[in-house]
Symmetry: C2
């Protein structure tokens, strides 16, 4: 990862900017859904997709025939964002009201992975990012399925993160107002797993599922 | 909103594509955080931000001095995505494993709102989208604060939504495998509100907060 250029440097409220690689990766590792932006026919296109991080690279995958995958495989520049919203910040003034969040924006180029071995590795990285251990439990991709899947890796060329946390920050004079202020936390959690309606009898939940749902 | 052109038509798994305006708006109205993509200096840029919908328009706001707001105010094309992830879909095969989600991708152009009156209206729309009723409870923007805030509206020119829900869809032969399959729901919820550490004594939670947190 390179030093932050003008492209990623956080201009607004610079104290919220994070350029430390380990902090950026920590935010990336909490999620598995990103938004990918690229230029297509001169227009910006944005698409949500899942990802897995391995070192300084993000793996993305999709159908070999998908427009996005084909466009990205050409090596065009991409911008990827991962955003976790943690709370609604209610200040006394509307102007200072905000959100608590952690977000990463990164820039890079995608490259298609064609080796069968790295393709399996990369898909396992994505699978692990969604649910650790599932890769070993489920049926592995067949040669035909691997062919129908395009795997891309995006080297994280530049990245920056932003984080806001804690109390609202009001104007000095506003603290005297009789207006409630505080934070409403936003949580993301897993619900009770739902068995497939066609599940064979006698099959209990696997380790991967039990590990994240009590 | 225009008819779906080639740009928004869902190509992969067309049965997941939704072009009905009311369904698209229903998804937009469940959230308040979007990702905005635009082309800057020839490169794709993606930024998370909050929004509010009013009719066929999305309002976005930010600091008057922000690069994104200044670039968008020029009327360049934008692509905006809103994505709600509802579950991890664990098929017997990795190939058919997926996510349950609802997402909208739309295209349009931003236009700066300069009239004081519409600016206040638009900011109230955004505020309502985050927390209904808060606008009336908090201190209104001063003239100086309004000046420091840029408000944009994006007419939703084209949009499409995608939704996946329910059980995994496995290959016929795979249903015989001794592998667990099902869905792990993902929930988003509000936590117990946290009073600002500098809250004046005797101020209780307002209606807007009590309405969403039991």
């Amino acid at each position: 990862m390179e030093k932050p250029s003008d492209k990623v440097r956080v201009k607004r409220i610079p104290k919220r900017g994070i350029y430390d690689r380990s902090e950026i990766y920590e935010i990336l590792d909490k999620d598995c859904v990103c938004h990918v932006a690229f230029v297509y026919d001169g227009y910006p296109v944005i698409i949500p997709t899942i990802y897995g991080r391995s070192g300084d690279e993000l793996y993305l995958h999709g159908a070999s025939t998908s427009r996005m995958m084909m466009a990205l495989a050409e090596g065009i520049p991409v911008s990827i964002a991962v955003t976790k919203v943690n709370g609604i910040v209610l200040a006394r003034s509307l102007f200072n009201s905000s959100m608590n969040y952690e977000s990463v924006v990164l820039f890079g180029h995608a490259k298609e992975v064609t080796s069968q071995e790295e393709k399996n590795q990369g898909l396992a990285v994505i699978s692990d990012q969604i649910l650790k251990g599932r890769w070993e439990e489920a049926r592995q991709p067949s040669a035909k399925e691997l062919k129908a899947t395009k795997l891309l890796k995006v080297y994280i060329q530049e990245a920056s993160a932003k984080r806001r946390e804690g109390d609202p920050g009001d104007e000095k004079a506003d603290y005297a107002l009789d207006i409630w202020a505080g934070v409403i936390p936003i949580h993301r959690s897993y619900g009770e797993p739902i068995d497939d309606s066609l599940l064979k009898e006698g099959i209990s939940r696997p380790h991967s599922v039990k590990a994240i749902v009590k």
